[in-house]
Amino acid sequence: MSTSLASGSTLGALAKQEIRNYLEHKLFWFGAVLTLVLAVLMLAGIGLDDSSSGSYMIVPGALLGVLGLVVLNGLTHRSDRAAAAAGAVAVPERTRTLALAAAVVVPASVALVAWVAAVITWYVHPPTDDVMPPGISNAFVHAMQFGDGVMSAVGGPLLGLLLARYLPKRGVAVIASVLLVIVTILLQGGLIGLQPYRVFWVWTYFLSQVALHDGEFTGAMTAGAGPDYEWHMGTYPGNPFIWLVYLVVLCALGVVIAVYHDPESDRVHLRRVALGLVAAAVALGVLAMTVGYTEQVVNPAICGFC
């Protein structure tokens, strides 16, 4: 057995395996190629509307995040089967869980490239004057883009891992990804108005088109908009910077809860960490609702492309 004690950590070796497994997954490549092709087209200005790259990050969010849920869920099942085939092995479940979690570096890297492309596009092909509401910085948009794209590409696969740990049934990942999209649609600002609690959801907009009637917000997209309504671009209440930190804490919480599943883990310690992260997430969620951006800000110019 002494030959096994070669250089490097077990977690590192296992993480490399899981990263390779993620890279070999066809669904990942489907999402990655589409994301990057659309990024290149966006950079070239092809198919871009006046809002520039403002809403592009939904692409990596869906293609790397939602599909990533299915990918990492499958890889987790595969890892569990391999471990079960060996009975009991020296490497515990929690190390496998952490290695699987480390594999999110794959979709996250692609999403990061897409985000950089979106940021570059924002300056190379800037939005028209009817897009950005007064007082709203470019950083506001980039934070939103990072949350919707990069953090989704991290959080989606981690959700798949978490589901595989606690609901190891066939089809759960597919059902969860469909539910995730449905709930996301329902919790968009356009459908639930200006409710600030929307920032607690993991995938939401902060800048979007809004329909006004007599200067009052009525909704976004097609919801509630009639012929005598005016379309503008506007923000929804909520602080995207704090929301980003909130998403990071949620991802960390997901990993901790996934590790907690291992009956041989230090559950007392993990419970404390999880409770701390839950408290931090709640605090950050409340802060995202109450700090800095509590009101809707609307661009007074009529939106030309909405």
Binding site: S4, L14, Q17, R81, A82, A84, A85, G87, V89
Partner: protein, 288 residues
Amino acid sequence: MTPVASLTDVSKRYGATTALHPTSIDLQTGVIGLLGPNGAGKTTLLRLLSTALPPSTGRIEVSGQEVTGGHAERVEARRRIGYTPQEVVFPRGMTAFGFLDYIAVLKEWKGSGARHAEVRRVLALVDLGDRGSMKVARLSGGQRRRLAVAQALIGAPELLILDEPTTGLDPEQRASLRGLLSGAADTVLISTHQTEDVAALCDRVIVLDGGRVRFDGSVPELLATATGRVHIGPTASDGAVQTWKTGTGLVRSVGGQPAPDSSVVDPSVEDAYLLLRAEQRFTEGVTS
């Protein structure tokens, strides 16, 4: 001699059902066969010993590590154990090499060079050296079974635990596997329904029934329990445990009162096992 593994008053309960009554066994160097009917507690015993399952009571030690103690000792014991479960569900989409490579990482083979060499070694041991690049799903049943055994051989464990390793193998593959297992580890514990494997391979045999050890001794000792009790003749013995007509037209009877004109034949491990089981059923019938 210090045993490689020992169980002291180990029991396992699943709710109200006792799968294994308090049992004490020392496993020394050699190949040990574990016989018993379905539901006898064999798999439970193997899973306990492999640390895949915690016991309800008792103490288990493997290579001086008390696996029922702390986590660190349990992990240390796992480094010395190779285990092939009875039913292996292979991960989807993996090649034979990829599967073993993954298991090798789970067994703490961190450096890829040494790990790949070890994977190639165990693939060759189970005669799958030329099947490494094949998807597991495309391997035959017997090849998959050998692959399951190969993962247990990674790292040359001191204690090799195999739950029905020869199931699904053809006679040639079984013979080949016997040859491999006879020198695969210091101590090999094999659960099997194949009494020929026990006769051909094992230094010692343990018969488990109803969660209790019914026999523990050498193969000759097991055979001795049936000596003079197996007959062959024109008619079956009265009250025989099992009878069947052989290819010669004569009837072979295990146990019972021999019929006139019958003659005694050498018992097989299977004969001894059948008699042991029959006696056990009789004893249980009397006591109940």
